[in-house]
């Protein structure tokens, strides 16, 4: 019997395993791995000019990169041939039905953090206002993670929103266009702040100098094509380190189906996806970190409950293209990055939640991914795309999720997860942000804003929320599931709310807090 069993090896499962590393820990995971191929170590534009044919690397022998032409669109990062392992087989391993919710799940080692934007933001007390815990409960774990994974960033107007700058690595280099925006903002800072807009550096788990045996980022801009870059944190790095040090045991190709709680242990039932054999594992404590939706599914499945509707939170999103006229036809920033260049916070005033944005360049993906969205004939689109690429930024806005009684997750008797999620009406804030940015020389049009459907953010939470006085299908403040002595929820499922920030760092910090607390409780 193990001291602890952890389900899942994404950010939550890995962070829990890290906090439990002094005990006898078993991690159960499907754990798909990236293809065993050497990735090019060259800048994407140099590569595209020097290699006569990048078909295998960028399109794929099975035409993986054409996915969005004939199937339900997925994130551009997930469709390139060396990234398809991240979303591999999720529909068959955990089928989900919904007419209103566009999702992608991952059964890869590292989970969806294998293709993330690497944004790592601390929740402040304002963000945690409706949680039964406060920032002081998470800060020691944020500090530990900042050192462990390496976070780049800096002190600026957003420090109040993003928390302590202690231990940050130097910020990433900005593109010329993003530097323009920051410079213009700094010149008119007071006017912008009066309008509620604050702009500054993002916090990214991207190394700007060598750190704990990993090398610094080289601005090769291959984020859309390369499966893993050592400079960009992936939970798989931590897990592999723990496995190498024999701190945890890692069993892959195990799909956990349910658990049974007994007086002195928990029995976990898993299916070996290679041969279909059902296996049972015993642990004194169980830590669920399979992701917000799959953790909810596991709990419902274990209780054989096909009627209860659990709540669900998802960050609504919008995307604002911004044009800098003076940069049309300028030289392209070749040594660029596809990570967020800048971060923005839109403060709508007292009593109203913050909206957070990330500013991206457009140099990363293939032009064919976006060329057909331009409103001209194709030859003219090619010309426009060449001329406009150095002049366009994309501002992705994330709204806080709000509880709506109509939004739910349920487990059907057939075993599928059913989700209903209503699309909120957005647009007011976009108009005000566009108006503010116009004063900085960056043009946007409300009619060109895009509003991706619910679920697209991949930021989900709140199916088994933490509460001071929990009830059924809720968790105690220590992450323990209501009515259970040995089952803990470590991922976004136990969030009481979902602010506009990327919640991965908080998932990890909270998973560590829960695992460390459970260790104490188990002694």
């Amino acid at each position: 019997m193990h001291d602890a069993i952890v389900v899942g090896a994404g950010p939550a499962g890995t962070a829990a395993a890290y906090a439990l590393r002094e005990r006898d820990v078993l991690v159960l995971d499907v754990g798909f791995q990236p293809p065993d191929l050497a990735d090019p170590r060259k800048n994407v534009f140099e590569l595209r000019q020097s290699e006569p044919d990048l078909f295998d690397f960028m399109i794929g022998e099975r035409f993986e990169a054409l996915h969005n032409l004939h199937r339900r669109p997925i994130s551009l990062k997930l469709k390139s041939p060396r990234m398809t392992y991240i979303a591999r087989e999720w529909q068959s391993l955990s089928p989900l039905v919904s007419d209103t919710f566009e999702t992608t799940m991952s059964f890869a080692q590292g989970g969806l953090a294998s293709a993330w934007g690497a944004g790592v933001y601390r929740f402040t007390d304002r963000d945690l206002a409706t949680f039964p815990i406060c920032a002081a409960d998470l800060n020691p774990w944020y500090d530990l993670l900042t050192e462990h994974i390496g976070v780049s960033g800096g002190a600026d107007d957003l420090s109040g929103d993003f928390g302590s700058t202690e231990g940050l690595l130097p910020p990433m280099r900005l593109s010329g266009l993003a530097s323009d925006l920051l410079r213009c903002y700094e010149r008119r800072r007071d006017a912008m702040r009066e309008r509620g807009l604050r702009i500054g550096l993002p916090r990214l788990s991207v190394l700007t100098r060598p750190h704990r045996g990993r090398e610094a980022y080289r601005y090769e801009n291959l984020e859309f094509f390369r499966s893993r870059d050592p400079a960009v944190y992936n939970p798989a790095y931590t897990l592999n380190e723990l496995v190498d040090q024999r701190r945890v045991r890692y069993r892959t190709h195990r799909l956990v189906l349910r658990y049974e709680e007994h007086q002195d242990h928990v029995e976990v039932v898993a299916r070996n996806i290679d041969d279909g054999v059902i296996e049972r594992f015993r642990g004194r404590q169980l830590f669920l970190g399979a992701g917000t939706l799959n953790t909810a599914k596991l709990v419902l499945q274990s209780k054989d409950d096909h009627t209860t509707r659990l709540p669900l939170l998802d960050n609504p999103m919008s995307c604002i293209p911004l044009l800098r006229l003076g940069r049309i036809g300028a030289a392209l920033d070749v040594y660029d990055t596809s990570f967020s260049q800048l971060a923005a916070v839109f403060d709508q005033g007292p009593g109203r939640p913050l909206i957070q944005g990330s500013v991206y360049g457009t140099t990363g993906p293939l032009r064919s991914d976006v060329l057909f969205d331009f409103p001209l004939a194709l030859s003219a689109n090619l010309t426009a795309c060449r001329a406009l690429a150095p002049a366009i930024l994309l501002l992705m806005l994330f709204y806080p999720a709000s509880h709506a009684p109509g939004n739910f997750v349920r487990l059907r008797a057939s075993g599928e997860i059913e989700v209903f999620y209503g699309n909120p009406s957005l647009g007011e804030a976009e108009g005000r942000i566009i108006s503010a940015l116009r004063r900085l020389g960056f043009l946007g049009l409300l009619s060109l804003c895009q509003y991706p459907p619910a679920g697209t953010s991949l930021h989900y939470a709140g199916t088994l929320p933490m509460s001071q006085q929990p009830g059924p299908y809720q968790t105690h403040t220590d992450g323990r599931l209501f009515g259970s002595e040995r089952v803990y929820v470590t991922d976004g499922a136990n969030f009481s709310a979902l602010p506009a920030k990327n919640h991965t760092l908080t998932i990890m910090a909270n998973a560590m807090r829960v695992a460390a607390g459970a260790t104490e409780a188990g002694r």
């Binding site: 044919d53 392209l332 060329l371 057909f372 001209l376 004939a377 090619l382 426009a384 150095p390």
Partner: protein, 143 residues
């Protein structure tokens, strides 16, 4: 696969290769490498699974050697049949990853005046293509 079916499949692939060459000529200089034309043909069963009806409209465009760019533009703007757009997009993907086409997709150097003129010219060009496409769609019943 019996002899007839194999022969049909080969003929279909030949048609698709010819289609790739035709589309390439509309947008790019020089001739298309056979390797790309082969890939274009091989990608079709994946991108158009069990959808022979959808392929009829574009087939008429290629048989009659109509201006596919003009027809595609009108169909794309009016969100009509996406088949022609998808075919052209497929070809663009296959070309973009070859160094020979780098300059078609990415500006090699800064040239603000040329790019501004290019955009203005592109607006006029698109207007002409739209009118032509609208006429072709109406004349050949391609809606």
């Amino acid at each position: 696969m019996n002899a007839n079916t194999a022969e049909d499949a080969r003929a279909d692939e030949d048609d698709l290769r010819a289609e790739a060459h035709y589309l390439h000529g509309l947008f790019f200089k020089g001739s298309l490498d056979d390797e790309v034309a082969d890939r274009y043909a091989r990608a079709h069963p994946l991108c158009f699974p069990d959808d022979p009806e959808a392929l009829k409209g574009p087939a008429a465009v290629f048989e009659r050697r109509l201006d596919a760019e003009a027809v595609e533009y009108v169909q794309r703007l009016h969100r009509r049949s996406p088949v022609l757009t998808r075919k052209i997009r497929m070809l663009f993907y296959l070309l973009e990853v070859r160094s020979r086409y780098y300059g078609d997709f990415v500006a090699r150097r800064s040239s603000r005046l040329r790019e501004w003129l290019g955009i203005l010219g592109g607006l006029l060009y698109s207007g002409v293509k739209y009118l032509k496409g609208w006429y072709l769609v109406w004349r050949h019943d391609l809606a």
